[in-house]
Symmetry: C2
Subunit: 382 residues, 2 copies
């Protein structure tokens, strides 16, 4: 019986060990002497008047996810804080200003958005708009010289994703996708296990990412806003299978099922899709707005793994044939974990856990799944 | 936390309670007086010179399943015994005769098979031939005036199943399908739970029935012998979903995947198929000859159930959100359980757990799945 017993302290120590020792909150003030030597490797530092120990984040789009999850999480983060907002609704601006003590100069609307370029308080623009608007605002944020965090799904098409990645590269800004699940320590422990091959090669993944969404006018129900269950919940099950198998799928098949056409007439309510990987491994996955189910089950050559819940806001828990994966980290908030990891990676100029390329990998599969569901045929992924 | 604590004794008592008290092994000898009164309800008794306390079974086809599983199981049964064999291989006849002390007069080949009609030692003919031969031998056994047990899959087509059911009805013989899994007490406890609706309505079933079969010339790899994974392992996952949901599917979708065309060029190696039920419940299932995986996962409105292993020879074990399903019955042998249940049902003229109609329900779905995999489209089940 093997146990993963990382603690929050262990994780911090591991991060510090790999860092330049310059930009962590605890030691920044004493580290001035080394700054010039590492500045050349840190796009964050280039062009800034001074380095910071916390990045200022502006949330773009103040819907449910920003209001109920990201803003509260930004009260818990160590490496970043809620510095600004972008909203088209004056009443929301007023309410947020009061609640989070946001300075007037850090409040934008969609007409004034590009002026954010001149605001040194804002280091990161976090795009939390409907997916159909991600490309436009990621590109504009990059042009404004800001690092960008983009909520998932990255965008409705692979072409959008490419344009977003290119804009960030061209403007020397980092692009991270808001994949909170990949920042969960239990998920990371499982991915480590999968990668180490302890249980032999993976052969079959069964995965469901699904909850009941009864809303009718949210972007999730609207095709032209980038809705549909594949982008929203589907990316979790795609990701679960991709990371379990450690390969990119070579072909997909898919079928969509709608039990409630009165709500889901523009987009799919439930998707059941299969992926075939180069090694022969297969996955059979479900994503749904009509069923509650969240699990990831992997059959390896020499054992099995079951994570349940999987991709839930409260975190992941797992058991496998060698024991339990349940890291006793007080995981107060997945989104806080995610934003702290991403802010630290930017400050330290380290690789992001979920860069734009990772988001695009999933959208590549999503695009193929739409084609497969439409035609009923296998769709090869180039 | 709810526990199912049937014991073997409890099950026997339950059976006895519902029985006529006439034909169980323990009380037959003292029950003579009641015989005439119940004989009219018992096709088994009609036309027989006397009732028995154990039925004589003849195995037709002495391949792996008869040799390694059924014959040993028939040494453990209480309500039936190995009385005869039908084989085309004289050397097998000789070996079995010696090992199991089978009388010469109870040994048949395929030319002499129909003479079994005149043999009072044989009450039941158990057809364990490749599926393509089931129809012929079930019909001939029924015409010979014998009850019939037929190994799964019942037959390659629904038309075959109908002909088999009709032949048995016409000849007033019982027809049971060799669904060992439905006779497992843990499976039965779960089906009871599902039926009682303790956890609310079922919404999603994920199920896999799969093992690695490396043989190359078995009927399972041969199309014209009724091979393919859908009939062999697929019926378990179909059955798991059907019994979890308590409905018959109204449509199916399916895709087949072959990793080893050198072995599986005539039939599918792996099938991933979906079923949509009238209530809106969905299932996403896998059957494979290329992967080891056996589980049944059900998401109900108010909870979840996980059986693993599911459909394995060693039985089923389950946990659900209300506790554990693990009946402490010493389940020495699934096949012995199955044959004892079926023999008792015949002797008592009670409903069979898996009559021909139950086998046909699965083949109806299998037939639709082949059509769905071929066309890539949804196939409605009439």
């Amino acid at each position: 019986m093997m146990n993963f017993t990382f603690t929050r302290k262990t994780r911090e120590t591991m991060n510090d060990k790999n860092s330049t020792t310059l930009y962590t909150r605890r030691n920044f003030l004493t580290a001035g002497a080394g700054l010039a030597a590492t500045a050349a490797f840190s796009p964050y530092v280039i062009g800034r008047t001074k380095a910071k120990d916390k990045l200022g984040v502006a949330l773009v789009g103040l819907g449910y996810y920003s209001t109920d999850l990201l803003a509260p999480a930004l009260q818990l983060t160590k490496n970043c804080y809620l510095a600004g907002i972008v909203t088209g609704t004056p009443a929301k601006a007023e309410a947020w200003k009061e609640k989070y003590k946001i300075l007037d100069k850090n409040i934008y609307n969609y007409q004034t958005f590009d002026q954010i370029a001149n605001n040194p308080d804002i280091d990161v623009v976090y795009v939390v708009l409907p997916p159909s608007m991600h490309r436009e605002y990621v590109v504009r944020a990059a042009k404004a010289g800001k690092h960008v965090w983009c909520e998932k799904p990255m965008a409705p098409t692979v072409a959008d994703c490419k344009a977003m990645i290119e804009a960030c590269e061209k403007n020397k800004q980092k692009l991270a996708i808001g994949y909170r699940n990949l920042h969960d320590p239990n998920m990371q422990a499982w991915m480590k296990l999968a990668k180490e091959g302890t249980l032999g090669k993976p052969r079959l993944v069964n995965c469901a990412a699904a909850y009941v969404d009864n809303r009718t006018t949210h972007w999730k129900q609207k095709k032209d806003m980038g809705g549909g269950v594949m982008g929203d919940m589907g990316v979790y099950s795609i990701q679960g299978a991709r990371h379990a198998i450690g390969e990119e799928p070579m072909l997909v098949t898919a079928h969509f099922f709608n039990n409630r056409p009165e709500i889901y007439h523009e987009v799919e309510e439930t998707s059941m899709y299969q992926m075939h990987f180069p090694s022969g491994a297969l996955s059979n996955c479900t994503a749904s707005f009509g069923i509650n189910s969240n699990f990831l089950k992997v059959n390896y050559e020499k054992g099995t793994l079951m994570m349940e819940p999987f991709s839930s806001y409260s975190g992941n828990k797992g058991t496998y044939s060698g024991g339990v994966i349940n890291i006793p980290v007080p995981l107060n908030n997945q989104q806080a974990n995610q934003m702290d990891d991403d802010a630290l990676a930017i400050m330290q100029n380290k690789p992001l856990i979920a860069p734009g390329e990772e988001g695009m990998r999933d959208i590549k599969v999503v695009e193929a799944i739409y084609e497969a569901a439409k035609t009923g045929k296998e769709v090869k992924i180039g």
